[in-house]
């Protein structure tokens, strides 16, 4: 038992140090992605409303006027594509995911500029498992989480260990998800 306790501490501590960065990264993106209905987790959105006198009705030469408009409100070099969702509405796509919508009848428009959220965008990118190499690394991280859970049972003895306060916390941590499942499924 003494050896098990000793090794539990060593593994928990050293592997824990190794995965500190990954744990914080998954924690940040976990919270960000949990609230996708409430906010855009990858981009901050800046809105710019404007009015234009340019003729932006659907015609073969309209792209010229679109580029003039973009130079006024943004930069024509950011132009990607455009289309008309209906006869009065023009949507222009810009590089970087931003877009502009213009009412071609009255000239009122709204530009939506997207800016990547620093750190959260990158954390979300990794959380979504972008490639095979990251799959291996994140599998190792997941295995380490299981190891942390198991080793934590043996790290301490006495009142603060699994036979005391630690045991109550462990039970609570198991009962809460079970209660949740029981209620919702």
């Amino acid at each position: 038992m003494k050896a098990l306790r000793k090794w539990s501490r060593i593994l928990h501590r050293d592997i824990g140090f190794f995965f500190i960065g990954t744990t914080i990264l998954y924690g940040i993106s976990g919270i960000a992605l949990n609230h996708l209905s409430d906010w855009n987790a990858n981009y901050s959105v800046e809105i710019n409303e404007f009015k234009t006198e340019l003729n932006l009705n659907n015609s073969p030469n309209v792209k010229e006027n679109i580029l003039v408009l973009l130079d006024k409100i943004d930069n024509s070099k950011n132009y990607k594509k455009h289309y008309y969702p209906n006869s009065n509405k023009l949507k222009i796509f810009l590089k970087g995911g931003s877009s502009v919508v213009v009412n071609t009848k009255n000239g009122y428009g709204r530009a939506e500029y997207l800016k990547r959220r620093f750190l959260i965008y990158q954390a979300n990118y990794l959380h979504y498992n972008p490639n095979r190499l990251w799959t291996w690394f994140s599998d190792a991280f997941a295995a380490a989480l299981i190891l942390f859970a198991i080793t934590s049972l043996f790290m301490l003895k006495g009142k603060k260990g699994i036979r005391g306060r630690g045991g109550i916390y462990t039970l609570l941590g198991i009962v809460i998800p079970i209660l949740f499942l029981w209620y919702y499924i």
Partner: protein
């Protein structure tokens, strides 16, 4: 005698192997013929009218990516001036694809919408709103959407209406 039998067997073996070779060549040729069959292309504006003829078959479309699902990253809305198509995929799309014009191959999926489907949608809508998963605007929009389905069934005097979408196979960027 023995020599003659061996010779005969050798000749038979040669003939059989030649025949197999010919069959193999024919099979490869057939495979190649299958491979060169072009995927039919449908204009997005004509998709709803024509998709019924291509259910479970692959078709090619071309349009601009208007939207990538921010939750899963596995749904696209591909648009042109004349209409739009929903595309679902097993793989995630990078949101950089938004605003690109793409040529996409996908398998046509048919979703039959009837009264029981509308009732299920209604139930899910109420549940997700009561749990705070959707806001008032989203709740009201879904309600309107369900009513549109019912109105369409009534207008066409049918027990169900078909909605078509694509299951993603591949795509390329159109410059």
């Amino acid at each position: 005698m023995m020599k003659k039998i061996v010779l005969m067997l050798a000749v038979i073996a040669a003939i059989i192997s030649c025949k197999n070779e010919t069959k193999k060549t024919e099979a490869v040729q057939k495979e190649n013929e299958v491979a060169v069959v072009e995927t039919p292309e449908i204009l997005i504006g004509e998709f709803d009218a024509k998709a019924g003829d291509f259910v479970s078959k692959e078709v090619k479309i071309q349009g601009i990516v208007d939207h990538v699902c921010k939750h899963s990253g596995k749904k696209l809305l591909v648009v042109t001036d004349d209409g739009s198509i929903h595309v679902t995929s097993d793989v995630r799309f990078d949101d950089k694809i938004k605003g690109n014009e793409i040529s996409l191959i996908g398998t046509v999926l048919e979703n039959k919408i009837d009264e029981s489907y509308c009732l299920k949608m209604e139930e899910d809508n109420i549940k997700s709103h009561s749990e705070g998963a959707s806001n008032k605007e989203q709740f009201e929009n879904k309600k309107k959407h369900i009513q549109q389905y019912r109105d369409a069934m009534k207008a066409e005097n049918k027990e169900y209406i078909s909605e078509y979408s694509l299951q993603y196979v591949s795509h390329s960027i159109v410059e």
